[in-house]
């Protein structure tokens, strides 16, 4: 059976979505209903900790796994504080660590991310660190107790696709943990590409939230993720440099 298990939770849908950048947050519920998405990330900075009717959490269906992220954290210490706030506010014990101290390209800081992962994993969080794809850092995150790793496909919000493909391929090959491609995926075909490579899941926000029809785009992504996963499981045939006839002329020699 093809199961994705993270933090003891069995997930059927390998498309994770973000909740920022939507014109109307009520679209999130529609998307979840239509696609069966099970994991939704939300920036804790946007969550009203006092509850209240105007709260992004009200738009995320209750049966989804809530993945609060530490957006806005500039170092490990801030990420840890935000994660603790999230748990105290009843957002569960999953956390996506985002440590970004570069406001120009929004690239994650792997060193600080590793530090935060170590602390939070020890505190019992299911830690999903957003990272710059790098094998040493990925191994370190494994040792630090991450539940999965989330390398970027391209700088966040750029919709440029799987620009880090070669390194992501190595991470998938070398890491025991599920590899979830996060950030940069702009089109369903790119999500399929990541899944064909063997990614465990993809997380998409900008490409869905800023599409002309976000619900339809989410559906397209969901299907692409499924297709990519099936293709990976089906073990694609070898690719070759030259055309090769399906009935080789020398077949008689082996019969």
């Amino acid at each position: 059976m093809d199961k994705l298990i993270i933090g003891g939770k069995e997930l059927k849908n390998r498309l994770f979505i973000g909740s920022g950048k939507f014109a109307d947050e009520s679209l999130i519920g529609d998307i979840v209903a239509q696609t069966g998405v099970e994991v939704v990330t939300v920036a804790l900075r946007r969550v009203n900790l006092n509850g209240g009717k105007e709260n992004i959490l009200n738009y995320i269906p209750k049966d989804c796994v809530l993945l609060p992220n530490t957006s806005g954290a500039r170092n490990a210490e801030e990420a840890v504080r935000i994660a603790r706030l999230a748990r105290a506010a009843g957002c569960g014990n999953w956390v996506k660590i985002e440590v970004i101290s570069d406001n120009k390209y929004l690239l994650p800081d792997n060193n600080e991310t590793i530090k935060a992962t170590r602390i939070l994993a020890e505190e019992g969080f299911v830690v999903l660190p957003y990272m710059h794809p790098d094998l040493y850092a990925a191994k370190e995150l494994e040792r630090a107790g991450a539940a999965a790793i989330m390398p970027l496909g391209a700088p966040i919000g750029t919709n440029r696709g799987l620009k880090t493909k070669e390194i992501v391929r190595i991470l998938i090959e070398e890491c025991e943990l599920p590899v979830i491609v996060d950030a940069g995926i702009g089109k369903p075909s790119e999500a399929a590409e990541a899944m064909e490579l063997g990614a465990a899941a993809v997380l998409v926000n900008t490409a869905i939230a800023t599409a002309g029809n976000p619900a339809m785009m989410a559906n397209a992504f969901s299907q692409a993720v499924q297709a990519g996963r099936q293709a990976f499981l089906a073990q694609p045939g070898e690719t070759t440099e030259f055309a090769r006839a399906s009935s080789p002329l020398t077949g008689f020699l082996r019969s």
Binding site: F22, D24, R45, T210
Partner: protein, 369 residues
């Protein structure tokens, strides 16, 4: 290298001459680029670029959507005090002006905060006139402590402070600061600021950098458009933002576009900026600094603000009263400037929703300490 040295590099550069020589094809070529150099940015502030406004707008809209989504942040200023020791020709708080002066006490600060919080806003900007000496920081720290329970993000817009003072305020709960150079041209600056601590051009120019050094999360700068030749002023605003962002990667550098249309009695802006010019400045800044937040104040009328939403704006003030204590008793006299968009927070919210934007009233939590 300080930002002043960058300004000095342009001492012998004839900006108006450069602008008048820019050709249409130069503008079109600039619009093809992904990353703009300072000279490219200046190109977009030229008369030739006015013919390409629609193309600039399309690109600015796309970039803003990509980086910020269909989201506009809402905040409002809270005026704590209009006492001021400066004599700035364009400002109503000028110590020469015979206006009613008021400084809120603790009780009044709480009442103002409560009244504003009741509108649903969670992001506040605390303002004062120039309070000299250490009194400013003590008063502000007290104010921050008082309003903290009502707001998730607290900004200050006060006279320039030292790094340690910004640090102290950050510890109290301030996460952002706003300071406008007003005018980057040093001679004009000198002529508009007759006396008071604000006469010190350099102390003010370096204030945003000191706030970055104190590790405030967000630093917001701007020029008061209309005080001097707008293309030069917009150009130096962009360069200043770029300088700060390059040197302080972990600070969010934002830009405001305040436009002065009329000052106190007896003052008229020397270089008025038209609506089309304001749009050109906004678009050029967005293309030069694609990730910078951009703020539009209620100095602009409702209709224009509505139209500017998709062009690169990311933050808007709403439910504004620039009078000290104005939210408690509803008076608007003796404010810092006359606002043009008098809509309530709810009306601005509805406008954004109708345009397909999500109004966001909260985007941070106090996590210090």
């Amino acid at each position: 290298m300080s930002f002043y040295q960058i300004i000095e590099e342009f001492n012998d550069f004839d900006i108006p001459a450069y602008l008048s020589n820019v050709s249409t094809s130069q503008v079109k070529a600039t619009l093809q680029k992904d990353f703009l150099k300072p000279q490219d940015f200046l190109t977009l502030l030229s008369p030739a670029a006015t013919e390409q406004l629609e193309a600039m707008a399309r690109k600015a809209h796309q970039l803003t959507l990509q980086h910020f989504g269909r989201v506009i942040q809402l905040f409002t200023p809270l005026y704590l005090s209009n006492y001021c020791v400066n004599r700035c020709l364009y400002c109503n708080f000028n110590s020469d002006n015979a206006i009613g002066r008021r400084k809120l006490d603790a009780q009044e600060i709480r009442s103002e905060a409560k009244a504003i919080a009741a509108t649903g806003l969670k992001q506040i900007l605390l303002l004062t006139g120039d309070i000299p000496g250490k009194a400013a920081v003590e008063y502000l720290t007290e104010a921050v402590t008082l309003v903290r329970e009502y707001f998730t993000s607290i900004g200050i817009e006060v006279n320039p402070l030292a790094v340690d003072d910004y640090r102290r305020l950050a510890q109290a709960g301030v996460d952002s600061m706003t300071i406008y150079q007003e005018v980057y041209n040093q001679e004009v600056y000198d002529s508009l600021h007759l006396s008071g601590p604000k006469k010190d051009y350099h102390w003010r120019l370096n204030a945003p950098e000191r706030a970055c050094q104190a590790r405030l999360r967000t630093v917001n700068i701007g020029a008061l458009l209309g005080l001097h030749h707008w293309p030069s002023e917009a150009f130096f605003t962009g360069l200043h933002a770029s300088y700060l962002q390059n040197n302080y990667l972990d600070t969010e550098i934002n830009i405001s576009l305040p436009r002065i249309k009329a000052g106190p009695v007896g003052y008229q802006p020397q270089s008025p900026v038209s609506d089309a010019e304001l749009v050109q400045i906004l678009l050029a800044l967005r293309l030069f600094m694609p990730r910078s937040g951009m703020t539009l104040s209620t100095r602009e009328p409702a209709d224009l603000r509505n139209h500017l939403v998709p062009l690169g704006i990311t933050r808007m003030s709403a439910g504004v009263n620039t009078a000290v204590g104005g939210h408690i008793d509803g008076h608007t006299d003796d404010g810092q400037f006359r606002i043009s968009d008098e809509r309530s927070v709810d009306e601005v919210r509805q406008m954004l929703i109708s345009k397909g934007y999500q109004p966001v009233t909260q985007d941070w939590h106090h996590i210090a300490g």
